[in-house]
Subunit: 333 residues, 4 copies
């Protein structure tokens, strides 16, 4: 019974079916009919003209976005617990040719205009200090919190005032939107977001994320950077087909809701043990080593997050029976 | 009837089956049982201890290898028509943080010790000139020629003398080995090759190549670079499964032979029109624009390579009937 | 009466004389007799065989050293107030091709094995986290504190255990050594330091610092990086001559002592206002805006460091009369 | 009697005097009164509003300019014998984060619209090929040829049509302008040049070149890149003073003329031995090894350029007596 990460979940049958359907001779790279449909289909979804590229990983999506928004001599404001800072092996620095991440604080890895300003305003505007050029937030955050459209818009307004590019790492965008119940548009471009890493791999896809540009003029250079990074798979149709299948009939939202529902059941069971509110599909619980061992002895697999703290993640395919048993086990600690 | 590129071919059923078989919950990234089997299985194939990483593209394999073999301030000797120079959008420079490609000549994109020496020996050994640190050859070459083990060994000996890392771009390694009839070992590590981009995508895989290190000590840093480049897919098992399936029962060789056989049939038909000998699965033919148009009118799709020159590529799945019809059409020009 | 920075001080007459003496035709770059003497003269000074390169700035010295000690995918441990982190405009990231600075704490910008360990030990050893490969300390620190040889050796021992390269930013090395009264060797290579940015520009030189490698094997690649960074002046003899003149008869130490003496006089006057102990040539004082204005009204120029805090820096050429007057003025606040 | 390179010449007395005059306490970096005067003084010289930065080397000037004009994923068209390609140790790749130099042909290292077009037009406009974004020419060229304003304007027109940035490496700009007798404006911005590396070090300065931007909007980012590259000397006034002194009363032109005059005397003597026309201060002569040895035996120092070819360079300070003796010696071969 794996609650280790949604990263390792299985692939949704509709995704596998779409990939099989794409197994026909077509043009290489992104010249095929599936890849060519991305812009239109994602423009429909977001209710505005967007440009969208498939990429094989979330790290690639995030870092291509940052490279589009920040010059090599600039800085990217982010939370100090952000995935780009801690979990991408230095990929932001690689893709931007050495931009510096400027680390902000905030409960549950959530940024606010105030915590961003306190970092940015302390940076003297001279050539000795790296200046902020872009800002990235993660939604849902690394601790499973979500942003409302208003919260994003407040940050977007700050970014607009300062001339910063604004990126959203949406590795768990589906879980966030499913939770808030807003439209995908409200929490992105209508709130000032320039680029979104629209995550699918944690949500039932196999190997495709979409990098969505709301701001015009960024996609062309990004297509070149994608090739230059060795990310332009020659049989791109198998990635594009995944994205299209995730969008069709809102499979992404349905999967996000399913994962959230499992987490909500566990949250009820966890009660006072919760370190953060459970708003998406991740739970962080206080647990002693003995308690963790007890859960493992019952067959549950999960992540030792920090001393006295464990993490459980649910996914689109998490078995409800396993959730119920884990909920019982947590209650029984 | 597509002879445009093997890049766009379909996926072999055994590959699809292997991917479906991998669709079970397992550890993320490369911690799964398929990824963990790569070193052993490829060590068996090559008859020596190797370290092997899956990557989603040949460009990624090539450029990770070059980054492992050449410092940022160094140079990489290659043919002036090499894929790394002309078709990777500057990826070698990106991955190496700015190493310079040092361009050599040679018939049919084949290098020889003499053509390499003529470039390397002209470079004064001072800090003003970028010094060679690595060497890369493509086998089969960009014009469909193959290297014998002896030819590779002569280059490998030069590399050893000079202290250069030696990489082989094996995007069409299967076609080369199938043609020469040697072992995979003879034409690689036994001939001095340090790293091989072992290509599968042009040969029936969907999205996985293997980067094989024969020289110890390079794989660990490369694993970090792979992550840092956004190439570490979280569901790596679907890539590893492709590599394993290609290796099993020498599917890679069978597919390479099938592609070569089609090209050989076409070569017989092309006769004097051939610009290069046909040794693998690519044909370069002299054809006037009118002749090219006549072939297209009969339903054949192919690449206008240069003025008065067209390129045909066969693949593992190229229909024999289509080959026969194209052979007839070429004879009929 | 400028106490703004030692950066802007005048050039010592012996330096100007040495530069004039070098104004004769000689070989370009670093082939001249002055440049060629650096290794030997600095080896004498340090009592061990070193390799030394002149560079025109401290930032260049620091970042060439970091590039020699840390791969692009690695991290460099440093204090969060270090010059490399805050005052070099992202140069460490540029020179290392994107290594990440890993920020440690410590009073007065001083690191200890404990504060370093607390950062390093929290980094999981996997490809998702950037791993420490090097460590840099500043001596004297950015807040004017100095390290004893024992303190450096304790850090050096940690670096040795972990396999990290160890760099010392010695922009104010003269002030530190002058204060501690140790040998230059005791506080560097004997304490485990691999590379030293030996600063002269704040100490009476015009445009030359020395990058000194104690660890063999790093200088050759660094000479290439120096050229590649556009730092190899064609008339290098004018830089080498500065370094040699600073070393001769320990001019560097005499100048460091002179600057320290001025700061000591001011420290006596400042008493409880001091934010940090005054061990070198920098003073950080608590002062209200009104007090700062009062000092400025008396003709003193200095830096508003932070809210309620001002910085004074003395230099080799700071006028003793001005120091006495400033001391009086501080007492009179 | 050194004719090896103008790189190693002495410093003009007016430069040394200007540096001594700048030896007074002032603001660090480029905040001093000399640095602040650069824009105005160079705007006067060029008859248009320019922005100008001092840098310590020509390589730095060239590569900062290329970084301002070409993104990392782009290419820079240049002659295959250009200094940026052959003599800067990979600095263009370092500063641009991996842009590719696209090599063109042309007699005597001179480019023409035709030779540029033949390279650019062969590059397919897709993501697999690095696209040209900038163009750089050297004036005087590496073989001592000069461009007329019309020749530059023809190239500038091509650059404008294609949207390429246009840089001129003017390491020997003084020699070129002195020869052609045009204004500095005619051969630069009036001919479409966006940025000029205005060389002084080969022409009597010690350690300062000027990077001049004619196109607005490039200088600010370049000031950041200059700092980030460790090129922002803290005592910038000593560099700015050199630039100002070179400009004053057209010292740069007088020095250029003096160097050219020496070369012209030698060219008369060399006659049929000349490999290239002598238009500036460099001569390339056919000479057998025995002839070269004979000249060396008479005390002349020079460069063995290629087999059977030697190079002589005159400078502002080349002794006329030595020139006369060399002319005689060449005639006597």
């Amino acid at each position: 019974m794996r609650f280790f990460s949604d990263n390792a979940a299985t692939v949704h049958p509709r995704i596998l079916a779409a990939m099989t359907a794409a197994d026909t001779l077509d043009t290489a790279y992104d010249g095929d009919r599936w890849s060519k449909a991305l812009d239109a289909r994602l423009s429909d979804l977001f209710g505005t003209a967007v440009e969208a590229l498939w990429v094989p990983t979330g790290t690639a999506a995030n870092c291509l976005a940052l490279a589009a928004l920040c010059p090599s001599y600039g800085g990217v404001l982010c939370h100090r617990d952000a995935h780009v800072q801690n979990d991408e092996g230095g990929a932001p620095e690689f893709y931007t040719a050495g931009a510096k991440l400027l680390l902000c604080d905030g409960e549950g890895a959530k940024l606010t205009p105030a915590t961003i300003r306190s970092v940015a305003d302390a940076i003297a505007d001279d050539v000795h200090r790296v200046q902020p050029h872009a800002l990235t937030i993660t939604n849902a955050t690394e601790y499973g919190l979500v942003y409302t459209p208003d919260e994003v818009a407040a940050i977007g307004e700050l970014a607009r005032e300062r001339g910063w590019g604004f990126h959203m790492d949406g590795a768990r965008f589906a879980n966030a939107v499913a939770r808030v119940g807003c439209s995908a548009a409200d929490v992105t471009w209508r709130a000032g977001v320039d680029a979104l890493s629209f995550g699918f791999v944690k949500n039932g896809a196999m190997s495709a994320e979409a990098l969505v540009f709301f701001k015009p003029g960024l996609a062309d250079a990004t297509r070149r950077r994608r090739k230059r990074a060795g990310l332009l798979l020659s049989k791109g149709r198998y990635l594009a087909a995944q994205v299209l299948a995730m969008i069709e009939d809102d499979l992404w939202l349905a999967n996000g809701r399913a994962a959230n529902a499992g987490a909500a059941m566990l949250a009820d069971a966890a009660g006072d043990r919760l370190v953060h509110a459970v708003q998406a599909n991740e739970l962080f619980l206080r647990a002693t080593p003995a308690e963790a061992a007890a859960l493992r002895a019952q067959g549950f697999d999960f992540y030792d997050w920090a001393e006295g703290e464990v993490r459980f993640v649910t996914a689109w395919d998490t078995d409800r029976g396993a959730v119920a048993r884990l909920a019982d086990a947590i209650r029984g600690l």
